[in-house]
């Protein structure tokens, strides 16, 4: 078989620039052959090499007392006490999910699960952050807008089903996350998947090909032609031809993944495994050269030994395939048999395909002939690093957001509109399709500030949350990133947890645009500052650039996955008011922060004003006070105040939850600010608490000790939500009515009546 000649067209079609190609020639001391060109192209793709982001990512704090493994491995690992460690990471699968929502999302789940169990941890919880374009349009919207809406709905339905079908069958509970909507995600959906797993501290496994002479074992699914150049595809923007890229999306098999999990964990327990890595993006190529590179060794592979599901595959195709549910294992010499037997028990392929060598090269042979021979370092450490141009965009004139309503009735109508905005509305339609209870550890069901799982046999819990706010990051990337980190911390604290560390997924447009790189750089600086303030290091994550279609990019959308620890199960606190006749306390105070808010979105339809002001020191004091108040057992509920402001936060506290009827309340707000600001300002550093009267003085005393404002703003009551502002009754409705409006939004937009349902009517 003759391989294609290396031509300038071929080089370009591999996404490599002329300079990059010249560098390859320089590193090899010769022209690469076709297989080698393919290997370089995937390893040097943005997706695998982080070539545009690397110089910025270095500014993030990545160390701390709890960090056992920071960035650079398959997942970060933190010490959670009691001899246990938690491995967690978030990763994007945006591009595949746009092209083929169901499989794109499903394989995103598969990939992140493998990243976690390759560290030796059994996945115990999953969450995801989803961003979609709008689901409704005006009645007189032009046809192309209607088509976009239809596409957004089908993408969302496909993504949710894909996540559910994969996670449910695998047996990991999907316990939380976020779903947000904005025009910029039309044709640029974001699917970021998070997984957390737990292992004993001494049983952490790494992706390292240690021990010269050790066997390299291929395990899991057979290799096919699917997903070739998936990593390169994820490193480009989309145009008209997006649908033609469908074959670069892989097909997931959660059953096989489940078997792979059990077989991997069993082999690890047996002590036969030296190093292990998932074959994710760039498949066999990245797993072999990265494992070799981390250990300072080489890896030699005999390509014909790779289990294949199609005939006539070339070395190029085998090395670049992104077939799912595969792992590469380096076993202790002489213990191959044990590994193979364990995999056989789980009815999986496990084949010795090569050895660890001492020369630092990735060498691929076909029937004894060398078909690729590249120093690992050339693929990893020597990959290009770009200091891409950065340009601050011209400042946009943003109008100040002030109260738009002139009557009480109009303000109440605005409240009902905000409650029904899809980003605010109930997400039950989504999480009901996810098994959020399997493994019987979910102690706080989806819907509260953070999800909490127990660790069986240890009296401690883990809380976790995913947060983002692209509106803020669009208006002010640096301040926006700080606000997002602060909110993630606050969500954990309000749930009774101490924040430990975080993983981030950085979703941006094309890095070749200087304005995008400016946003990126600003986000990193803001995030770094906030992480330092809260003492929460970044243990890893993922960068997703090129979220652009037809030249339209997304808002900068950094997503934070924060993990915290609940020291005692009695500290677990949910957001819902538990009883009537309790004092409602606001920790923190409200400022005139209507800019870039849900209120601005509902009344002005855009990104107006400036982002809320965050004082990191005040935020930290609020969180410390809040945690102390919770740990002292003084409150029945605690809820972070964020999207939609205080009015929305209070309504959310009232809504019913599992085995708990809705609770009403009467609130009285006072102050110099406009009524709209008192209700809807998104001032950070605020938490809504409820407590028996006897505890109020102590709550206010703890707040004062932290120099934090706190005051009683109302009482819980029977079934009505009443908010008076400056003694005028602005909102008065039954909680049931507000809750029905809030719960009905997504089902109404997404449920296409089935034939069965039609018959029943």
């Amino acid at each position: 078989m003759t391989e294609p000649a290396i031509t300038p067209e071929l080089i370009r079609s591999h996404g490599l620039s002329d300079e990059e190609y010249n560098r390859i020639v320089e590193l090899l001391g010769r022209e690469p052959n076709y297989t080698e060109l393919g290997i370089f192209s995937v390893m040097w793709s943005e997706h695998c090499s982080y070539k545009s982001s690397k110089v910025h990512l270095r500014r993030l704090p990545t160390t701390g007392d709890c960090v056992l493994q920071g960035p650079g491995e398959n997942a970060g690992v933190v010490d959670i006490g009691g001899g246990l460690a938690a491995a967690f990471k978030i990763e994007s699968h945006n591009h595949p999910s746009f092209i083929e929502p169901y499989q794109g999302a499903a394989t995103g789940i598969g990939g992140i699960l493998r990243d976690v169990f390759t560290m030796g941890a059994r996945p115990l919880a999953a969450m995801n952050s989803l961003h979609f374009g709008p689901l409704t349009a005006n009645e007189n919207a032009p046809p192309e807008d209607r088509a976009a809406i239809a596409l957004n709905r089908s993408i969302m339905a496909g993504v949710v089903k894909g996540i559910g079908d994969y996670g449910n069958a695998f047996g990991v509970p999907t316990i939380g996350g976020e779903v947000r909507f904005s025009n910029c995600y039309s044709r640029n959906p974001l699917v970021n998947a998070f997984t957390l797993g737990i292992m004993r501290k001494e049983h952490i496994f790494y992706g390292r090909a240690s021990g010269v002479g050790n066997p390299v074992i291929y395990v899991g699914a057979k290799t096919g032609r699917d997903g070739i150049h998936g990593a390169t595809m994820a490193s480009e923007e989309f145009g008209e031809e997006a649908q033609s890229k469908r074959p670069t999306v892989q097909v997931g098999d959660p059953f096989l993944e489940k078997l792979l999990l059990e077989a991997c964990l069993e082999s690890m327990r047996a002590g036969a495994i030296v190093g292990i890595q998932d074959m994710g993006a760039a498949g066999l190529t990245s797993s072999s050269c990265e494992m070799g590179s981390r250990a300072g060794n080489g890896v030699e592979l005999e390509i014909d030994l790779v289990p294949q599901r199609e005939t006539g595959m070339t070395p190029y195709e085998i090395m670049l395939s992104e077939s799912q549910e595969r792992m590469l294992i380096v076993a202790a010499a002489g213990r191959e048999r044990e590994v193979v037997d364990i995999f056989k028990k789980w009815e999986l392929d496990a084949v010795v395909i090569g050895r660890v060598t001492d020369d630092g090269h990735l060498r691929v042979k076909k029937r004894g002939q060398i078909v690729a021979d590249i120093p690992n370092a050339a693929l990893t450490d020597a990959a290009p690093v770009y200091h891409r141009p950065i340009k601050k965009p011209e400042p946009t004139v943003r109008i100040e957001v002030t109260q738009a309503e002139s009557s009480i009735e109009a303000l109440e109508a605005t409240f009902m509109r905000i409650i029904a905005r899809p980003t605010i509305a109930a997400k039950e339609w989504v999480y009901r399709q996810y098994d959020h209870m399997v493994r019987t550890n979910t102690v706080v069901l989806p819907g509260s500030d953070a999800a909490v799982i127990r660790i069986k046999e240890k009296r401690r819990e883990l809380a976790m949350t995913l947060d983002s706010n692209a509106r803020y990051c669009k208006v002010d990337p640096r301040e926006g990133a700080k606000l997002v980190v602060a909110e993630a911390c606050r969500n954990l604290v309000a749930s009774g947890a101490r924040p430990l560390a975080l993983t981030n997924c950085l979703n941006f447009g094309s890095p070749e645009r200087p304005e995008v790189m400016w946003q990126f750089s600003e986000v990193i600086d803001g995030m770094a500052e906030a992480c330092a303030a809260f003492g929460t290091p970044v243990t890893g994550g993922n960068v997703s650039f090129y979220n652009e279609t037809d030249g339209r990019g997304i808002h900068p959308t950094p997503v934070i996955g924060m993990v915290g620890i609940v020291e005692d199960p009695r500290h677990i606190t949910t957001q819902w008011f538990k009883n009537e006749d309790r004092a409602i306390v606001l920790l923190g105070s409200t400022a005139n922060d209507l800019g870039a808010s849900e209120y601005a979105g509902a009344t002005l339809g855009g990104l107006e004003g400036s982002v809320p002001k965050l004082d990191l020191d005040l935020e930290r004091r609020v969180q410390e006070a809040c945690l102390k108040i919770i740990q002292a057992g003084l409150v029945e509920s605690a809820h972070d105040c964020s999207d939609g402001g205080l009015a929305v936060a209070i309504a959310e506290c009232c809504f019913s939850s599992y085995r708990r009827e809705a609770v009403g309340c009467e609130i009285n707000l006072e102050g110099e600010l406009s009524t709209a600001a008192l209700l809807f300002a998104e001032t950070p550093s605020r938490v809504v608490l409820s407590a028996v009267d006897g505890n109020v003085d102590r709550i206010i005393k703890i707040a004062a000790e932290h120099d934090v404002a706190a005051g009683v703003i109302g009482r819980s009551s029977d079934e009505r939500l009443v908010i008076r502002v400056k003694r005028e009754r602005v909102i008065e409705r039954s909680v049931d009515e507000i809750e029905a409006a809030w719960r009905g939004v997504l089902p109404r937009m997404l449920e296409i009546p089935s034939i069965v349902a039609a018959e029943e009517k």
């Binding site: 449910n168 069958a169 047996g171 059953f255 009901r432 399997v438 089935s754």
Partner: protein, 235 residues
């Protein structure tokens, strides 16, 4: 006395069920691997939830052919106690140990959430500690839980008092809202003619500890343990 929890490839509630039997009700329990062709010294066998063999064809359609199912049929024919939860129920139907079938949920979506079931019959080894009409808050998590059988089978089930659980509201009233998968006659669980084989779609093992929000489900495991204790005493 001893419980056995079957492990099919793709079972994912096996450890949860094992946990409840061993830690919550404190009974001895072993896993039974799908390739075993005997249930060993187990006195009660539980087929747990999950996606046996991936369930890509039809839920339970492959699992019924696994070696352990031959042993379970034989065990059941001798009067052994067998309980199938969720995927276990689907497998028991496919294996012919229980009548009927579980179709796609009527909304064609996977549904996970807490709901209520009403105990319809207490003269079984699985519900003897319950009160008739008692309402239990137990979650479901399935894509195929829409129970169906033909008219003759249904009247047989009704006549022989073999409908053990029905979906209801929290007050025990039968409503469409309380029956989200669209099951025929609100059926959530049935037993065989000899009353020693039970299948149910809801997950009692997920509602056996207060920490998880409900411990209503553990009464089913306690009933089973009581039955086994009495059988042990009698022999």
């Amino acid at each position: 006395m001893k419980f056995g929890v079957v492990m099919f490839p793709g079972s994912n509630c096996d450890h949860d069920t094992y946990h409840v039997v061993s830690k919550v009700i404190g009974q001895p329990v072993d896993f039974i691997w799908h390739r075993q062709n005997a249930v060993g010294d187990c006195d009660a066998v539980i087929l747990p939830g999950g996606f046996s063999y991936g369930d890509y064809l039809r839920t339970g359609a492959i699992a019924r052919f696994s070696p352990v199912m031959g042993a379970i049929k034989e065990f059941a024919s001798r009067g052994g106690l067998v309980m199938g939860i969720c995927n276990g129920f689907q497998i028991l139907c496919e294996a012919g140990l229980l009548p009927g079938a579980l179709m796609r949920n009527k909304n064609l979506k996977f549904i996970c959430g807490h709901l209520n079931i009403r105990v319809e019959a207490t003269n079984t080894p699985f519900t003897n500690r319950c009160q008739r009409g008692q309402v239990l808050s137990v979650p479901i998590a399935h894509g195929d839980g829409n129970y169906f059988c033909d008219a003759a089978t249904l009247s047989e089930l009704q006549r022989e008092n073999r409908i053990i659980f029905r979906y209801s509201d929290e007050n025990g009233k039968l409503t469409n809202d309380g029956n989200p998968n669209g099951s025929l006659e609100y059926i959530a669980g049935i037993c065989n003619r000899d009353r020693n084989v039970l299948g149910m779609m809801p997950h009692p093992e997920r509602a056996s500890e207060q920490a998880l929000g409900s411990n209503d489900g553990r009464i089913i495991f306690y009933s089973l343990a009581d039955t086994l204790a009495e059988l042990a005493k009698a022999s």
